[in-house]
Symmetry: C2
Subunit: 397 residues, 2 copies
């Protein structure tokens, strides 16, 4: 049906490539490109080389990207590279009039600032060019936003209180490792907390608000309010929300490690001079830490991510909980990547499918909750991320 | 009286330069040299330029060292550079027939191994050349060994149990910083514990043995048995010792930081490839951490280091405790460096004085306890590190 160019060959790129390769009716031609072509070749080797082409590309370099897109002529570019590279890839899509999809919003490399403003600024240009950009189509952001759209469409007259709850109940057996790019992970987790309440943002100290929450099949885990990017678009697209928060579980040891990493200066994003060369501490730390892509083999346990919602239905208060649980070992056995990569890569695959099937196709720049959630929800059940919904249960929040 | 070449312009070099400059009758000409000449110039500027010459030298490079020594013609070289550089500096002293003094034993850069064997191997060559090498003349090793020699000479017929106790009761106000070169400090503190008992070494896990000990003017502090280099020479030079241990105080936060630094791989001494360049994690960490030389200004509290000894005198059991307390602020006010640098630099100054005065001068390689402790003990009282001794008190150990 369509040609897709995947940019980025980390854990998420691995999952996207595997999933797309297993859907030849949708993804008739697939190219996987990254700065390091050998990583693409290794993934292609595991999948079966006839299904996937590979290429080298520097995603910071617009002319290089344009050249690759012009030569392969994809229908859509799926960006699972670094968030720093969102804008250069969007520029290349604009120039070549190619659809665009990503899983995380742009952030500048020199400040940890999670905002959609840079990407939303492309709205008019994408509209004029007649091409579609789908932003934030991983799990969170992504599925959590689609869960919310699904709830608003089918189960509520008015959604009022949204709590996105993200638990990784897995154990990778290492003293310390991050589940995705450590640079991005540490930048995200060490920032101040922020949530939406009564029409404005409330800022907290990092990890200031926390409490144990119960997760299906996992049990109680201490959960912390952190800022997460889907809150920005959801509060805009669902103005009835009186409060929207994002909770993530962290173990005490994980937090201790993060605290020390900050104290010793290794979370720093400003370059320091070392032997005549500028080095950014957190990027060097990334090179020293375990590669998240290598965690899969011995990863046990599962993730549980969902939305807990309160609101009104037929004039009465109602609660609703929709979630997916994903076992790390199942993800690893299917794709060679662990659950955190899997839960991001499968939704990106489905998003690209939605576009190629003409179900999510309109000129402009959109967050996923602005599309019809129904066909996406259906594919989640088919492609490895089945969801469960519960009505009028105790959602604890 | 004599000419001295100081190599190394860190906190200890700063103290040595200040102290020597204040003793013109002993140190008539002083040269301060290091890899970065501007650091030497800054120290010389503070002291008064007429008292100190400066030079650039790469202490890893024997021909460069020989050239500098031949041109300045010092009577003694005081090595307060890095322990990795002890052997190249000893080689240069041998070639130029110049006396040598250092404050820490040689360790190879690629393995954290604290042993005198490499330096003791120079014994015959120094003897034949007719020149003196004084090893380990800081506080610990250094003063602690001289305290032991003083006790053995004046207060015991037989010393049997030696516990060196090292407490830094200071507060530098930073979340994490090391008091001397972080690379050396972390290598030392994260190694396995080891102590001498009944004629053999007993190895422990890192920080396995610990208990609170009381320090004068500070109070109780949790203290940990770690291996420290003077144990090697003291057990050899005082064969009556049935047990010899070294205790150092650490705060819980300090240990947590060390544990995490190891967990995340930043204590690693093997190079990793980063952007096409080999970088040793612990050396990069050193560049990110606060410079120990900058801790002085806001450092409060004091150090307390001493020897607690049990043994026999006139056929009866006897206990003895000799120690020095040093206030960080006093050290800073006098020299611009904090107490840990001060307690290392003053003994190095006195050691060089002992040599120039002909009191510690004999051909060969010697640890400080092999010299007469009396004139050294006298100078400690005069030059800012007064000691206190207590007989037949509860030494807790």
């Amino acid at each position: 049906m369509g040609k897709v160019l995947i940019i980025g060959a980390g854990g998420v790129g691995t999952v996207v490539a595997h999933k797309m390769a297993s859907l030849p009716d949708v993804f008739s031609e697939i190219m996987l490109a990254s700065r390091t072509k050998s990583k693409c070749d290794a993934i292609a080797e595991r999948i079966g080389k006839d299904r996937i082409q590979t290429a080298q590309v520097d995603a910071d370099n617009v002319p290089e990207l344009v050249e690759l897109i012009n030569s392969f002529q994809p229908d859509i570019v799926v960006n699972v590279a670094l968030p720093y590279q969102d804008l250069t890839i969007m520029d290349a899509c604009l120039e070549t009039k190619t659809a665009y999809l990503d899983t995380a919003n742009y952030e500048p490399i020199d400040e940890a600032k999670f905002e959609y403003k840079w990407q939303w600024a492309y709205q008019e240009r994408f509209k004029e060019a007649g091409i579609t950009a789908i932003l934030g189509c991983g799990f969170d952001p992504g599925v959590t936003s689609i869960f919310t759209a699904h709830a608003a469409k089918h189960h509520f007259d008015e959604i009022q209180y949204l709590d996105i709850v993200d638990c990784n109940g897995g154990d990778h057996g290492k003293a310390f490792a991050t589940n995705f790019n450590p640079e991005i992970n540490i930048r995200e987790v060490t920032q101040k907390g922020k949530y939406w309440e009564n029409g404005q943002w409330v800022e907290t100290e990092p990890h200031e608000i926390h409490r144990p929450l119960n997760y299906p099949n996992i049990g109680a885990r201490e959960s912390y309010v952190i800022y997460h990017e889907e809150l920005e678009s959801l509060t805009k697209n669902f103005p009835s929300l009186k409060r929207a928060r994002f909770w993530m579980t962290f173990g005490q040891e994980y937090l201790t490690h993060l605290r020390v990493i900050q104290n010793i200066g290794m979370a720093g994003i400003e370059p320091i001079m070392y032997e005549g060369k500028e080095i950014i501490p957190i990027q060097f730390l990334k090179a020293v830490l375990p590669d998240p892509g290598d965690l899969g083999e011995n990863y046990t346990g599962e993730t549980s991510i969902g939305c807990r919602i309160r609101g009104l239905k037929d004039g009465k208060e109602k609660t609703y909980y929709v979630y997916n649980n994903c076992k790390h070992q199942d993800a690893y056995n299917e794709t060679g990547a662990q659950g955190v990569s899997y839960t991001t890569g499968v939704p990106a695959t489905i998003g690209a499918m939605m576009y190629l099937q003409g179900l999510w196709k309109k000129p402009g720049v959109f967050n996923v909750e602005e599309f019809n959630p129904d066909p996406f929800m259906e594919q989640l059940n088919k492609l490895g991320l089945p969801w469960i919904e519960q009505h009028d249960v105790d959602i604890e929040l």
